[in-house]
Symmetry: C2
Subunit: 203 residues, 2 copies
DNA sequence: CAATAATGGGGAGTTGCACTATCCAATGTC
DNA sequence: GACATTGGATAGTGCAACTCCCCATTATTG
């Protein structure tokens, strides 16, 4: 298919497709002449993925580039690849004090790299809560650790068995793309729980 | 304190404080003359809150305005207030098909307003996953519902008992400010679970 | 086969947002 | 009384993500 068909198939303006091509988010088509290139279903899929990462997942162009690089990498080591994708999506951290984060993680009994960017993100999140003057009710902490632990365990358990590349794709994209769903579900669950406790209008 | 002290206390440039005043995110100080106003600790707290919402929580100025309006409202009905804050932070939804979202919610057994913005957000998130060509392993769905349900139930159970205003503040801010923490914790939990299953390097 | 439309490629312009800089007259401070 | 600071307002900046436009070269069509 030509670029205009690719654009129509994904509902993305042609100019924007060209922009993504320039930015290297979508691989170039197969040139059949100096003014013609062929695109296929993989380009369609890639373009949709880019849109999802830029839209709902709210990544920047540079972050998308990093994530795609990690996915495209035929790296056999899932650990290394996941780490690279994490690093690509991690916002510039400003080195908050990691000790509260480490205390949390110790409480959960998780075995992780204390110096990794994931821990730094937790540290940042805790620092931001603190700076905003928001004291987290201690009773919620265990719920957070258990709920999140349950989710993450299931996700890792259900990684596709097949190729390493497929597992990488699932791990990287699942981490990022599922985030909006989890947050939205939490809000729905809030509504349900609030109704139970506060007796809001029943449906 | 004067504006320069307020700025120093919160580590926000004076020009930016003025900007927030103009935008109505921070209430004006008490004028003592035409070129002097007094600010107090509440202004400091408010300013820090605004920074947290604009920074880690990634809200826009307009969204912050909406959230603060909900928090400031002496509305006794927590339901109405939470709904208003949700609406303020909800990105412009483009009306995805709600049936997959409703199926999910039915599976969880939650009693919620099927036409509310929360459900629409779930619908959008599911549509985005679909558009990106990412098929969620079905086995994870229950983990998502259980994990999120556990978290939300704890949060609602632990709302402060005191004044309605305080409960509103906790509910609104907790919903928004905790999000980065949950996502960061999930990534840490991933690392832990991945180590268990894949035998990554142990710490 | 001539006229029209579309393409790849690339530079420049636009939009939206969150600031940031500058100005000014009126005050506060030393 | 000299100098810095303030509140208030307007204009400008920087960045990210597009979007527009141009051009020489094909493709398509009547």
């Amino acid at each position: 298919m030509r670029i205009s068909e690719l654009a129509r198939a994904t509902d993305v303006p042609v100019a924007t497709v060209k922009y993504y091509l320039r930015e290297g988010l979508v691989p170039p088509g197969r040139l059949t002449s100096s003014t013609q290139a062929q695109y296929d279903d993989e380009h369609v899929a890639r373009l949709r993925l880019v849109r999802a990462l830029l839209g709902p997942a709210r990544l920047t162009i540079a972050q998308v580039r990093g994530v795609l690089a990690a996915v495209d990498e035929p790296e056999p080591d899932l650990f290394v690849t996941l780490g690279r994708a994490q690093h690509a999506t991690a916002p510039a951290t400003e080195a908050a004090d990691p000790s509260p984060a480490l205390a949390l993680i110790a409480r959960a009994g998780w075995d992780v790299d204390p110096a990794g960017p994931e821990v730094a993100q937790v540290a940042d999140a805790l620092a931001a809560l603190d700076a905003a003057g928001f004291a987290m009710p201690g009773a919620n902490v265990d719920a957070y650790l258990e709920g999140v632990g349950r989710i993450a365990a299931s996700e890792i358990d259900n990684l596709p068995e097949g190729s390493a590349a497929e597992a990488v794709r699932y791990a990287v994209l699942g981490t990022i793309l599922i985030e909006p769903l989890l947050l939205a579900l939490r809000r729905v669950a809030h509504q349900h729980a609030a109704r139970r406790r506060l007796g809001g209008p029943s449906s």
